[in-house]
């Protein structure tokens, strides 16, 4: 469990980082932020990057900004930054609630929000958050800057639309309506384990009915996504057990479940049914 040899680059500015990344990307150069996923994978030699571009000393990447519409999260913002609310909006409380479910405390003090999105583990809470809230990913390289919508960003298990030479410099999350409700639930075997299924929901109430529902499911398919069928089962319905069960059932029936040696597709559907309903129940508290 010793990583294969690699060269570590420690740029101080974003320009420098992007230049180095452009140079080393063809030789399997990778960005190192918190290292909570990459380093264990390297220790197992499942990844053997020849170069690491360590962005931990790059200036200005640790900022969280907010213009009243969008929350901007920089590349080096750690999970722990969300332990308390970062914005006076329901989004702040949502991020705080979700952050508590990420792994264990020491990991949260080191791992980064953007690193989690770049790594794109199907079970990632932040990937689920980005997919559910229609985040925009800002990728930068020496070639320029581009914005990638969440629906275009996730391409599969640990696979994204980021090019080899692109750094995920920022993630933009739209602020929620002031009266928005949210709920989150995830299932794991032990406290702090990877979620075997997770759900994040947001909606508002208009005239006693659910409106603008977002129902995201993570950990169940190769990538997290919004489940349109579940949202349709909610919109225009009164919040409550009947609508929540219908949405949960819709989500469970439309997903194409991941299977592995510990998990059958049938069981994954059971979990999706449970986490969606529970996320919706939580949203009422």
């Amino acid at each position: 469990m010793k990583p294969a040899p690699f060269i570590r680059h420690v740029p101080k500015t974003l320009d420098e980082a992007l230049k180095i990344l452009a140079q080393v990307a063809p030789e399997d150069g990778r960005v190192l932020a918190g290292g909570q996923s990459l380093v264990p994978i390297m220790a197992f030699r499942l990844a053997k990057p020849a170069h690491l571009v360590d962005i931990n000393e790059v200036e200005n990447l640790d900022k969280i900004g907010n213009d009243g519409k969008i929350l901007r999260i920089g590349a080096r913002v750690r999970h722990g930054a969300f332990h308390t609310s970062v914005v006076d909006n329901p989004l702040g409380a949502l991020l705080t609630f979700v952050a508590r479910h990420i792994a264990h405390y020491p990991i949260r003090m080191r791992g980064t929000f953007c690193g989690s999105l770049a790594h794109a583990d199907p079970a990632s809470e932040w990937c689920l958050t980005a997919a559910t809230l229609d985040a925009t990913m800002v990728a930068k390289s020496t070639r320029g800057e581009r914005a990638i919508k969440a629906v275009d960003y996730f391409e599969g298990i640990m696979s994204t639309a980021l090019a080899e030479d692109e750094l995920l410099a920022e993630v933009h999350l739209p602020l929620l309506a002031a009266e928005a409700k949210f709920g989150f639930n995830e299932f794991s075997r032990r406290a702090g384990d990877f979620a075997m299924s997770a759900s994040l929901v947001t909606y508002t109430i208009k005239n006693g009915k659910i409106a603008g529902a977002h129902v995201g499911v993570g950990g169940a398919e190769p990538s997290p996504r919004r489940i349109a069928e579940a949202e349709a089962a909610l919109n225009g319905q009164a919040p409550g057990d009947e609508a929540f069960r219908a949405a949960a059932e819709a989500a469970a029936s439309v997903i194409e479940p991941l299977e592995d040696h510990q998990t059958t597709g049938e069981y994954r559907r059971d979990l999706v049914r449970a986490v969606v309903r529970r996320a919706l129940e939580n949203s009422q508290q």
Binding site: D193, Q262, Y267
Partner: protein, 787 residues
């Protein structure tokens, strides 16, 4: 410490004295094998295939890579049993011609650092022509299954059979036959410290010192010297601080043989530290069994006869010294458990497969047989329409000594009393009321009971009954009071977390009237401790403790003799206490330090009537004694996800005299933690090609602190005549009873649905599958429509 006891007459035995081991460990001052520097580091290249022929091994240019071809004259590890149609399967130190499981060591890369060794190992190319593997033991028994070893046709390495003479007649008279098919999936003992070894050659003496993380240093020395054909005196084995063993570290690892061979070849120091992946796939596994158990009852639910068929998957090779008989033969010997049943038929087979070799793991088969038998008793209670507590009351042993259907003699214990104590403490009626109320809200609580016997502290006759070529059992302790009055005990046991340095000091302190802080226990080094069998099988406090007491009694006798000489009093009037000998009723007194000094430096005073010095030795080889306990688990099952939360765990146990209550409780709680892993979480899973898919601690899941429930412990102390300290062993009970109690509780929680689960671990997925099976049954008329 002295201030606490001086003049009070208080004993040290029975007190929750703090462990003398802990200050160093909690301050990071422990000394572990991997802390040692070495000139050379080894990385093993392991087979990626479960079965195949080795066509070639391509070594990178200039690298030092050792393969089987280099190990000329090195014998194979060939454990032996002289009974049960045992087939003497031999294990080459590095794979020779064929590979038999994923993880088998094929080559050893030697380099200047661990990192470099791993880099080079990446470049070693194994050319293996794959052959069809067999992973499941039932597949291995099928006609036409691939044969793992030519010497073991049909892949059966041993077969134990037992049938009591009156079995058929009693079986035919039964009012009811209850059948249970139990499955226990494969586990890894998962010590916090994985394996590690460090061998260094000494040019002056020509000796090699092997430091390794072992539970039995003396036997490692004997075994490695045998395999390498070297003089045992040319090898010294040291077990430094060892970070948990749980049985995994009592077997001989081929890797340590390679290290000693390399140290002699290179005339240098060579080290290897296993990583977690290696530990999970290639150390030793356990608990992979199928048991079919049938029980005959009379009309009053009294157990008449048991019929068991045990299939134990022993992996690719046989472990040394216990052999792969360790699980199947333990299952056969102790299947009747704590119940009075005189008719018994059993067949227990060890079956070879293309999987990692099985070895002892805390509890050895008893977590599985207890799970099987206790599930069966609950099932029988249901069939008779009586309570789970009642059926146990009707069947638990209550007269002693009791001779089992296998001929084992159970010494006095408290099977009935611990059951009553536990059910009273848990308050069953209050729980049932709560359970009913919860069900009305769609929450499913369950209560499960497990009663069991825990055979501990058994000496050589018990091992001889298995026909073992290597028959462990006795222990020797050499106790010295040095000329300054300090006490040293050299022991053959090899504690690695059990707190034996504390508990043995408590025994010695009481016997010779000193405080524990002047007593040092020396262990874990073949140069400085007497030959012994190490620490395993809940034996050390009983056997090494007994030997300690015998040695201490001899020292006591000598001190009294010296005191009687020096104080000119009758030996009958000498009182040993508070570090001195005193003539009863007088102020005439002499310290133990002064007497010890005289015993070495003033021997002329004793006119040849007392031997010089102050060293005595004690050896103890007891028949064995049975501890016992009743475990109760209260769980809540989330029927939507299948997740089980243990709300409370309660133990009423009897391990005879408790030398140190804090250490005893620690043993029970630690065992329960592993039992929870066994019951709910931990499982080694192979895919259809024989590749382990649980090679990290994210996939193989021991419980964490967050999964531990509140645990309530109650004790009864039955003074056994089968142990001279009156102490019984208790190292394994926690993990023996917990799986049965927890899974019985899960089944109780699922009872409204008619769902049943007889497999461990009872994972959430398995719970959901059981519910799904039950709900799809047309016979089910449950109370809830959408679980």
């Amino acid at each position: 410490m002295t201030a606490h006891t001086k003049g009070t007459g208080l004993k040290w035995v029975g007190r929750a004295m703090r462990r003398v081991e802990d200050p160093a460990l909690v301050q990071g001052q422990g000394k572990f094998t991997a802390d040692l520097p070495a000139a050379h580091w080894v990385r093993f290249v392991r087979s990626p295939n479960a079965a195949g022929r080795i066509i070639g091994i391509n070594k990178p240019d200039g690298a030092l890579v050792i393969t089987a071809a280099d190990l000329t004259g090195v014998k194979k590890i060939t454990p032996m049993l002289h009974k049960f149609a045992y087939r003497a399967v031999a294990q080459p130190i590095l794979a020779e011609n064929v590979v038999r499981y994923v993880g088998e060591a094929v080559a050893a890369v030697v380099a200047a650092s661990e990192e470099e060794a791993e880099d080079i190992a990446d470049l070693v190319e194994l050319d293996i022509e794959q052959t069809a593997p067999v992973i499941d033991s039932r597949d291995a028994l099928a006609d036409g299954a691939p044969q793992i070893h030519a010497i073991a046709p049909g892949n059966v390495i041993l077969e134990g059979k037992h049938k009591t003479p009156g079995f058929d007649e009693v079986w035919a008279s039964a009012a009811k036959i209850i059948t249970l098919d139990a499955r226990s999936n494969r586990q890894n003992a998962t010590p916090m410290e994985a394996r590690a070894g460090h061998a260094v050659f000494d040019a002056v003496s020509g000796r090699v010192t092997l430091t390794c993380t072992t539970q039995m240093p003396h036997l490692m020395r004997t075994a490695i010297a045998d395999v390498l054909g070297m003089r045992e005196s040319d090898l010294r084995v040291i077990a430094p601080d060892v970070g948990g063993g749980f049985g995994q570290k009592m077997s001989l690892c081929a890797e340590y043989v390679v290290l000693v061979w390399l140290a002699r070849k290179l005339k240098s120091s060579v080290a290897w530290t296993e990583d977690r992946r290696e530990n999970l796939i290639a150390s030793f596994h356990s608990r992979d069994q199928y048991i079919k158990l049938e029980a005959a009852f009379d009309k009053d639910a009294k157990l008449l006869a048991l019929h068991a068929d045990v299939i134990s998957n022993v992996g690719a090779y046989s472990c040394f010294p216990t052999t792969s008989g360790v699980e199947p033969l333990m299952a056969m010997a102790e299947m009747p458990g704590p119940y009075d049943v005189q008719q018994y038929q059993c067949r227990a087979r060890g079956v070879l497969t293309n999987t990692c070799t099985m070895a002892a793991y805390r509890g050895v088969s008893r977590p599985i047989i207890t799970f099987t038998l206790e599930r069966l008793m609950d099932k029988a209670a249901n069939a008779f329409g009586i309570d789970a507590i009642d059926i146990r009351r009707r069947n638990l042993i209550d007269t002693f000594p009791y001779t089992s259907a296998m001929g084992l003699v159970y010494d006095e214990a408290t099977y009935q009393q611990t059951l009553e104590m536990a059910v009273k403490a848990i308050d069953v009626p209050a729980f049932r009321a709560r359970q009913t109320a919860a069900r009305a809200q769609g929450r499913y609580l369950g209560l499960g009971i497990a009663t069991f016997s825990e055979r501990t502290g058994y000496g050589s006759p018990a091992f001889a009954a298995r026909g073992m070529e290597i028959t462990p059992g006795w222990e020797t302790v050499i106790l010295t009071v040095d000329p300054s009055g300090f006490v040293e005990a050299r022991i053959g046991s090899s504690p690695h977390g059990q707190g034996l340095r504390t508990t043995l000091a408590q025994i010695i302190a009481d016997e010779i009237g000193v405080t524990p802080d002047i007593i040092k226990i020396i262990h874990g080094d073949t140069d400085t401790s007497p030959y012994g069998w190490g620490t395993f099988a809940s034996r050390s406090l009983v056997i090494s403790g007994g030997a300690t007491l015998i040695a201490a009694q001899k020292v006591r006798a000598k001190l009294i003799k010296i005191a009687s000489h020096l104080l000119e009093a009758s030996p009958d009037d000498i009182v040993l206490a508070d570090g001195a000998a005193t003539v009863a009723g007088t102020d005439r007194s002499i310290t133990i330090g002064k007497m010890a000094r005289e015993a070495y430096t003033q021997t002329h005073k004793f006119k040849g009537e007392i031997e010089p010095g102050m060293t005595e030795s004690g050896t103890y080889d007891p028949p064995g004694t049975f501890s016992n306990a009743c475990h109760v688990a209260i769980v809540e099952v989330d029927i939507e996800t299948g997740q089980t939360k243990i709300e409370k765990f309660l133990v009423a146990e009897d391990a005879g005299k408790i030398i140190n209550p804090m250490i005893a409780d620690g043993q029970v709680i630690g065992g329960i933690a592993q039992g929870i892993g066994n019951a709910l979480l931990e499982e080694i899973i192979y895919d259809e090609h024989g590749v382990p898919t649980t090679a990290t601690l994210a996939d193989y899941m021991p419980p964490t602190a967050r999964e531990m429930p509140p645990i309530e412990l109650h004790h009864i102390e039955t003074m056994s005549t089968q142990s001279i300290t009156k102490a019984k062993g208790l190292g394994e009970g926690g993990c023996i009873g917990a799986p049965a109690a927890i899974v019985n509780a899960i089944n109780d929680a699922l009872s409204p649905f008619g769902a049943a689960l007889d497999e461990i671990p009872a994972t959430p997925q398995r719970v959901r599958a059981a519910l799904r099976t039950a709900l799809s049954s047309p016979l089910w008329e449950g109370e809830k429509s959408n679980p």
